[in-house]
């Protein structure tokens, strides 16, 4: 077997971490050297990971690809769900890295190093099939996030970082308890604690405490801003520096969902029974209540942060319907939306910061009429907004449509609520675009234009935004890039959940095509 791609995968994850380490250790490295070095760390994964996704072969006999073993479960391998998420993270990482390199901040090398750590940790989560690796990299990505928000963040960073730390620790602890109980019920040692083995063993275990699924769902759900454990999220994203917001809202929160799918859905049946109906209601809360909260936002970055929470709703619904009624399409669409939302959300945070650099504020009422001064920025921003509300052509469209189609067999009220959110999200997103770029210019902005004249976005910002929008368009036109790798996983999970639901007496087969044990 060709081991070259496996080596590349190792490089993609270790390079940002090692370069980050060197930058943190070498606080006085010269600026130009540090920039080039850091750029290597951001660019390497962005070249490797999408290529690995292209190389991905839809072969049911080898669902765990590009495998390379390491000590303590830190070996790397990609599964069908991790592959597209890895590619998405690497692209967000590149765009965030380009943004970070243009920023003039205090202790720049440490700042860049910590962002590289965050990127490396997030990439690591998606490239491991082992629970220790999952938990380790998850913390590895979160700790720099706290530090970055606390020191380099904007307004309200201290309470936001503290709130985030407490919520996410509580979530991490709850999910850890769930993981431990699941390991105990599956009778697995740490060394064998892969997602696969857990799914295999729990399929036959009868003594899983009822709370296990809830602990996993609510614990990891906190990280993924599941309603009502979401209240840390919007302040956290808003207060963070822009590259951190991009990575956090775009990529980091997805590994909460990733864990919910691989552990909760495929082994613990979180979509069924009482917990299943809770899950449904909370997901509807994400869609509807948080959607209403978005309508009241008057600050561009706050709005983006809240809408990023609201957009988790359809993803949760897709996951729920896959586990509840065995619709593989639901999980496929949810996975697609995870990737597409990451790209569009990161692009919006990036462009909103470009707006702020020009208007000097995020307050919507203090802007207006920017399009006449910055037509290219306006075009980019409108494109990213259209992507996020699911215009056909962009990736989000396939995700949202897929979730709606998967929900078609559900009661009408669910469909009605979900459909209403399309309208709600269009209202707040388009209103923000209108308030920022069109209409008369506010007095404040006009005065600012006289004192500090600004131009359109520069080519560096254009490149960063283009990376993300081009990726969204690519998967919008070639959706099979994503579905070819996610489909075996979702089919396996869907079959598995249906077997355990309908015929509990028969020993359910392990999720057939879903990551069989390579050991």
């Amino acid at each position: 077997m060709d081991t070259f791609p496996a080596t590349l995968l190792q490089v993609a994850i270790t390079a940002p971490v090692l370069i980050g380490l060197i930058l943190i250790a070498g606080r006085s490295l010269p600026r130009s050297f540090a920039s080039g070095f850091a750029f290597t760390g951001f660019a390497l994964p962005a070249v490797i990971a999408p290529w690995l996704l292209v190389l991905w072969t839809n072969d049911a006999t080898s669902p765990l690809q590009f495998r390379a073993d390491g000590p303590w479960g830190f070996g790397f391998a990609l599964n069908g769900l991790g592959a597209p998420l890895l590619a998405m993270t690497s692209l967000i990482g590149l765009a965030a890295g380009i943004k970070a390199l243009t920023q003039d901040v205090e202790a720049r090398n440490t700042y860049l190093g910590l962002i590289l750590f965050m990127l490396g940790g997030t990439l690591g989560v998606f490239a491991t099939d082992h629970l220790i690796g999952f938990y380790f990299f998850h913390e590895f990505a979160l700790i720099p996030t706290f530090i970055l928000t606390l020191f380099w963040g904007g307004e309200g960073r201290r309470p936001a970082a503290m709130q985030m730390a407490i919520y996410l620790t509580a979530g991490a602890m709850a999910s850890l308890a769930g993981i431990l109980i699941a390991l105990d019920a599956a009778n697995l040692s740490f060394a064998n604690a892969t997602f696969v083995n857990i799914a295999d063993s729990l399929g036959t275990a009868k003594n899983i405490p009822a709370a296990t699924g809830a602990l996993v769902l609510f614990g990891l759900g906190t990280l993924a801003s599941l309603f009502p454990f979401h209240s840390w999220a919007a302040p956290g994203y808003s207060a963070a520096p822009t590259p951190v917001s991009m990575l956090h809202a775009g990529a980091l929160k997805k590994f909460g969902i990733y864990g919910i799918i691989l552990l909760g859905l495929s082994s613990l049946n979180i979509s069924q029974g009482t917990l299943g109906s809770w899950f449904l209601w909370l997901a509807v809360g994400n869609v509807f209540i948080v959607g209403l909260i978005c309508l009241t936002q008057r600050d561009l970055k706050q709005l983006l942060s809240w809408s990023s929470v609201a957009h988790m709703g359809p993803i949760f619904l897709g996951i729920w319907v896959c586990g509840a009624s065995g619709k593989a399409a639901g999980l496929d669409a949810a996975a697609f939306l995870m990737v597409a939302h990451g790209l569009s959300c990161a692009a919006l945070f990036l462009l909103a910061n470009a707006v702020r650099q020009r208007a000097g504020t995020y307050r919507l009422e203090e802007m207006g009429g920017l399009a006449s001064r910055t037509p290219v920025l306006a075009a980019f921003f409108i494109a990213a907004t259209m992507a996020s509300i699911g215009l056909p052509g962009f990736g989000n469209f396939w995700g949202e449509v897929g979730v709606f189609l998967a929900l078609r067999a559900q009661p009408l009220w669910i469909q009605a609520i979900v459909a209403s959110t399309v309208i709600i999200s269009a209202i707040y997103a388009l209103r923000a675009v209108a308030a920022t770029f069109f209409g008369p210019m506010s007095d404040g902005l006009a005065r600012r234009l006289e004192t500090a004249p600004f131009g359109d976005i520069n080519w560096i910002e254009r490149i960063a935004a283009s990376v993300l929008l081009a990726a969204s368009l690519t998967i919008g036109f070639i959706p099979s890039l994503i579905t070819k790798s996610t489909n075996p996983v979702s089919t396996g999970v869907a079959n598995f959940s249906q077997r355990t639901a309908t015929a509990p007496a028969v020993k359910p087969a392990a999720p057939a095509q879903f990551l069989p044990s390579a050991r």
Partner: protein, 502 residues
């Protein structure tokens, strides 16, 4: 080497009565001898060689620790001999001793500079410290309430001295008096409990109703009465006092805050360890027949202890006090492990049994505590008992190594992966899961989440800029020994957890 030891063994066995295997308590004898040697040095050495005192004490402690590596049967008895006529428990795992030795060693490192800066005698401090250490090591292997009480009181009297050691400081003296009163009360309760057990079991024909083995047999045979139960409850209360478990935790904040910082660390680690091991010894030894009664009680106490410490710590703005209260929660984690051992005697976490898990938790706690203590002790303070959060401001600029020590120490105490503190908590959570103690598990998880607030507040102050008006404070000088301790412990705080899981 082993030949020499074997010969010593033969010589001792020839000289001593059969049951008095002196080599089995060689580590304790060595530590006690070392403590006398400290006094001898203080008498004989000229002033410019006084530094040798603490150096010998440390070397001696390291050598005693190294005894664990010597292959000798003396401290791992295999024969079925009642050691010292049944006064001592056999086959104490060496790791248990290691907890006390490690704590004493680190206390010596912190205390050395701290005491010299304040013009207090170093030799006497080391003398008392080593006596207490030896007494703790004897206490946890006692098999008879006479040994138990004598060892406990030896340790307690020594600790009264160490708490009130800074005679010129009102706070230190006040803490000493408070500790004396509270400790005296707990000793009285303990003694009352022993008397009740002795009397109630002696009345039904138990030959030596202070001997743990005989008490265990009598209770298993159902000879206990209501009076015995009351006695058992009082004795457990005495052990809970040492551990600092609810409702015997109220002395902790005041005493820890007022005591000299090195003593605070020793009290937090060694005294807590002694409480943990004696409690484990008692509930799984003589009182094991009452496990069905004790386990629910311990479970309730564990839940309350876990929560009360961290909730109280939320409201404090003094670092020493916050750490003292967080120690109460750590005691709750240990209680949780003891409860798990009672609820399911065979419970293991990754092949470590409850006792080993507790040892590991305590070692992790020692690492975290001494990292923070070393950072605090290296900072100048007009009054040792006032360590407001604000005083930490600008530490990152003034002495990055101390901020780093706080980072690793607090991180480990808070249980942030992948520190040793996280792995230790993980092991106890696994015990709780396996023993199906869901309520305690829930309380433990909530307690961890709550604790993040004040732990991170401490870190935040340490790395936030000096003052809001940009005024820079002078850089701090950090002694070589402090740098050494911080470096070694920081490495241990990361590597320790990975080593134990591999």
């Amino acid at each position: 080497m082993s030949l020499i030891f074997a010969n010593i063994d033969v010589a001792f066995k020839a000289l001593a009565p059969r049951s008095s295997d002196w080599l089995s308590i060689a580590p304790e004898i060595a530590v006690a001898g070392l403590s006398l040697f400290c006094l001898l040095q203080a008498m004989l050495l000229p002033a410019n060689l006084r530094w040798l005192i603490s150096a010998t004490a440390r070397t001696g402690l390291v050598l005693v620790m190294a005894m664990a590596l010597v292959p000798h049967a003396g401290w791992k008895l295999t024969e079925d001999v009642a050691t010292f006529a049944g006064l001592l428990r056999q086959n104490l795992p060496f790791e248990v001793r290691l907890v006390f030795l490690f704590s004493a060693l680190l206390t010596s490192f912190v205390a050395d500079r701290f005491l010299r800066d304040r013009g207090a005698a170093v030799a006497d401090y080391h003398h008392v410290l080593l006596v207490v250490t030896a007494a703790f090591m004897l206490l946890v292997q006692s098999n008879h309430f006479v040994t138990f009480f004598v060892a406990l009181e030896t340790a307690a009297v020594g600790l009264y001295i160490l708490v009130g050691y800074l005679r010129k400081s009102d706070a230190s003296l006040e803490a000493g008096v408070k500790y004396l009163v509270a400790g005296g009360l707990s000793s009285a309760l303990l003694l009352m409990g022993m008397v009740l057990v002795y009397g109630s079991l002696g009345a039904v024909g138990v030959a030596d109703s202070l001997n743990f083995t005989q008490i265990g047999n009598a209770l298993a045979a159902g000879k206990g009465s209501a009076l015995t139960l009351a006695g058992v409850a009082l004795i457990l209360g005495g052990a809970a006092f040492k551990l600092g478990a609810f409702p015997f935790h109220t002395w902790i904040p005041d005493v820890y805050q007022g005591a000299p910082t090195p003593t605070t660390a020793f009290l937090a680690t060694a005294s807590k360890a002694a409480g943990a091991f004696t409690l484990l010894l008692l509930v799984t030894g003589p009182f094991v027949a009452l496990a069905h009664k004790i386990a629910p009680l311990l479970a309730v106490i564990a839940v309350v202890t876990l929560l009360v410490g961290n909730l109280a710590a939320l409201a404090t703005t003094d670092v020493k006090r916050a750490l003292a209260l967080s120690g109460v929660s750590h005691a709750g984690f240990i209680l949780a492990a003891i409860t798990a051992a009672l609820a399911m005697p065979t419970v293991t976490a990754f092949d470590y049994n409850a006792e080993q898990t507790i040892v590991f938790y305590l070692l992790a706690y020692i690492i975290g505590t001494f990292l923070t203590t070393q950072a605090l002790a290296s900072m100048p303070a007009t009054e040792d008992h006032r360590r407001p959060l604000l005083a930490l401001r600008g530490l990152m600029r003034r002495a990055p190594i101390l901020a780093g020590a706080l980072g690793f120490g607090i991180g480990s105490l808070a249980g942030v992966p992948p520190t040793v503190g996280f792995i230790a908590k993980l092991l106890i959570l696994v015990l709780l899961v396996k023993a199906k103690l869901w309520w305690i598990l829930g309380a433990a998880l909530i307690s961890v989440a709550v604790s993040i607030h004040y732990y991170f507040s401490i870190l935040r102050e340490a790395v936030v800029r000096p003052t809001e008006d940009g005024q820079e404070l002078a850089p701090l000088e950090v002694s070589f020994s402090a740098r050494f301790v911080i470096g070694a412990l920081a490495a241990a705080s990361i590597l320790g957890g990975l080593l134990i899981l591999s």
